[in-house]
Subunit: 474 residues, 2 copies
């Protein structure tokens, strides 16, 4: 039987019916865009707009109150001025709504009066066994449930879940993640999390068969012991990456103004992460790098890497970063060393790993040499990961960059992906014309299942996260 | 009187005449592009192509040997097969060339035979008092001398010098630096540095009135004591940022294959950096961030920062990063707090610093509120740096992104730049259409002298570097 938590979160991610309380015909208002976004996403369940002043909203029959809806309402979204929220929550409780997401802000983050209001909401919900998401949260993204809070973003399903105590960060992770090739099972903005809190979402994700990797942006948690227990159960099965907001004294004060919560002492959090094998990160960029790596790469604790790229200095720095991140240069088998020698590369004191070749050599014969070298690496059992780092600018100087990158992608198509993990770094100078070519190349590499990073440092950090896999890094 | 070192390096950066030994009519060859690049850059001195097989090269009279040039040759560039280099160097020495840059590779980085060749070159040069740059180096970039080794790059002069033991990294720093708004006095690729070495270039830059900030990519140095002495003299006058290649065991082996040199123990290098107040970085991205910050921002050791941006979670994370980097949130004066309150921002528990406002509020009335808040910060004597961080995507959702960013730039035009240091962060999702708008906005902000970074973490790192200024960070 479904637990009440499972019922509530199933209704959050896969509701059969949704009431939008505060629905509007004005698409520029939040109450208007909520319905528009559901339709854009292709949501197939029932939508009930609630607004006492309208007969119909966006072509749907409107109801004065959720009580007036003739059928079951599994999920409600409340988009109302703060003072109207408590009554709406009480209405939902009476209607036996399973889960209510409160978009409205102006609660605990506004001080004591707001905190009192939160207690009112909790009391009303608890009595009816209804669960609350938020308040002060911007939504839920569930590709398989056809629910989104971002216009025009991919609804391809994937295996990464993200739980966020910041709506903006949830938005960033979906929006930027899509470009980077991350595909999600569920993303949820949990706001002030006065009822459903991090441990609840994690408990749900523990059993969610669609979720294999979990990321969290956490500012606070009410029940630290329960979080500890859940993380202990989770991390042996699914890697968990945590970005903690409020690590410092000033950050903690900033948290109070953001979600009205207490961030606590970061040393305690760090101990928790160590004890449970959580992968801690300190920026959205690191979070995206870690999620992309965990989604795309297999775990090889030996962490033996072969590298190829253009740039002698870049190769030296990549090697340093590799070792500083606890990874190792793969020691190639004699067969591989011979193959590379036959390709004319391993002469004059040149290394066979890492390989540093100028752009004009790498791009000859439609990238044949590049392909041959990567294939040689990929067939060596001593190699776990292959990092290829391409500084795009020298290629753009020597030839048609887009064409060269297409040739490289075609070469990589012939590498057996089960044998080895390919990791790409495409370095740009941020000029729009280079960025446009880079974007297309990235998409082609994504089709081959190859993650692509912007800097060598990010690529190596990604490998370090994947190599440790469920164990965590740092 | 000019020292011999000064004579040589003056001839490297501002030569009255250049012989290109190995010049070619084929523009796709290095010996061809060298002359093309000099002309593209508007080099005004004499160019003497040297090639025994040609009468004229690119419209210039060619000479069989440098000995045949009828006038003085201040600087020679040798672009020949390795085995022909020693004779060319001997010719230059006889001709009393002041400095010879050896482009050709295949020396110390190819093992013992190559090292013996290097000794031959050194002996020939020493006898004549001629200095050698390289071998295995790609060139010199001197905007005021109208010399460049990169096609199509800005030749605007600036105050940042970069000395690089990797040609690729020198190329990156110029190419990427230009986009970021860094302007250079001199950049030099020093290759295997068998004669002129880091301390020589630093000695020259110490006295160079055009250079105010120095960056170095170092793999090795022959005379550690001399480097120590020079850094001690330099850092009180000009900040020095060092990116060290070969920090680890594998990296050190990689260095041997790159420039044929010994990287040494990184702990010794770290001690040297601490002792001399050098700012150490570990990636090209950090180097660029540090150079841009040192070029653009004044030093305020108090490091008091005011922040404004969109995104609650982003603001919390920015605050954490700020404190972790040793900076402080500025405590605003009561006047400023009042002004912000009058703007309707400081209510409902909202902070006055950092300020977190959603995109739709920041962009109202042509960015008036944004401008008012930045002006309020800028007039507060307690504020040293103002960081504004804009996540571009929500703005693109609410309105015309390019227009909004133009309005922001117009607002910032009215901020007195002498009163405070503005630092911008424009966050993108890497989509080409966003990158194109971001690029244009960055250029507009550069015209106002405002450095722009890609992430909040980079912006704050830049402020940390500038706040410590000559003292160094970490």
């Amino acid at each position: 039987m479904e637990s009440s938590l499972q019922t509530a979160l199933r209704a959050a991610f896969h509701p059969r019916s949704i009431a939008v309380i505060g629905a509007s015909n004005d698409l520029n208002k939040l109450g208007g865009s909520e319905i528009r976004l559901l339709r854009e996403a292709g949501y197939a369940g029932k939508i009930y707009p609630i607004n006492p002043k309208e007969e119909s909203i966006q072509g749907l029959k409107a109801y004065p109150s959720v009580a007036d809806v003739p059928d079951e309402v599994e999920r409600a979204v409340i988009i109302l001025p703060t003072r109207l929220v408590p009554d709406a929550v009480r209405d939902c409780a009476k209607k036996k709504v399973k889960v209510v997401q409160i978009y409205s802000a102006g609660f605990g983050e506004f001080g004591e009066a707001g905190k009192a209001l939160e207690q009112e909401l909790l009391a009303a919900a608890k009595e009816a066994g209804m669960r609350i998401i938020g308040p002060n949260c911007i939504g839920t993204y569930s590709p398989s449930g056809r629910i989104s809070f971002i216009s025009g973003t991919s609804l391809q399903s994937g295996h990464v879940a993200f739980v966020s105590q910041s709506g903006g960060i949830a938005f960033d992770i979906i929006d930027r993640g899509e470009v980077l090739g991350i595909r999600f099972s569920k993303v949820i903005s949990i706001g002030n999390s006065i009822d459903l809190d991090h441990p609840d979402y994690l408990e749900y994700l523990l059993e969610d068969p669609d979720t294999k990797v979990i990321g969290c942006y956490m500012e606070s948690v009410r029940d630290g012991q329960r979080l500890l227990q859940l993380l202990k159960r989770l991390t042996p099965k699914k890697p968990v990456v945590v970005l903690k907001g409020g690590r410092t004294e000033s950050g903690t004060q900033s948290v109070a103004s953001h979600t009205g919560s207490l961030a606590g002492n970061y040393q305690i959090w760090q101990a928790l992460f160590r004890q449970t094998g959580v992968i801690p990160v300190t920026s959205v960029d690191e979070m995206l790098t870690a999620l992309l790596a965990l989604q795309s790469l297999k775990t090889y604790p030996a962490g033996r890497v072969a590298m190829i790229g253009n740039g002698g200095g870049a190769t030296v720095l990549a090697t340093d970063t590799l070792e500083e991140r606890g990874l190792k240069l793969a020691k190639l088998s004699s067969t591989t060393v011979e193959r590379i020698a036959q390709l004319g590369v391993a002469n004059n004191g040149r290394n066979v790993n890492p390989i540093d070749l100028p752009a004009y050599e790498l791009s000859v014969k439609e990238g044949q040499l590049f392909g041959d070298l990567v294939r040689a690496f990929s067939q060596d059992p001593n190699v776990n990961y292959i990092l290829f780092h391409i500084n795009l600018i020298p290629f753009a100087t020597y030839g048609n960059l887009a064409e060269i990158l297409e040739q490289f992608a075609r070469q990589l198509e012939t590498v057996d992906p089960s044998a080895v993990n390919l990791v790409g770094v495409l370095r740009s100078n941020e000029k729009p014309e280079i960025e446009a070519v880079r974007f297309e190349a990235m998409r082609k590499l994504h089709q081959l299942g190859i993650p692509v990073f912007r800097t060598v440092e990010q690529g190596i950090y990604g490998i370090a996260v994947a190599a440790n896999g469920l164990g965590g890094v740092r």
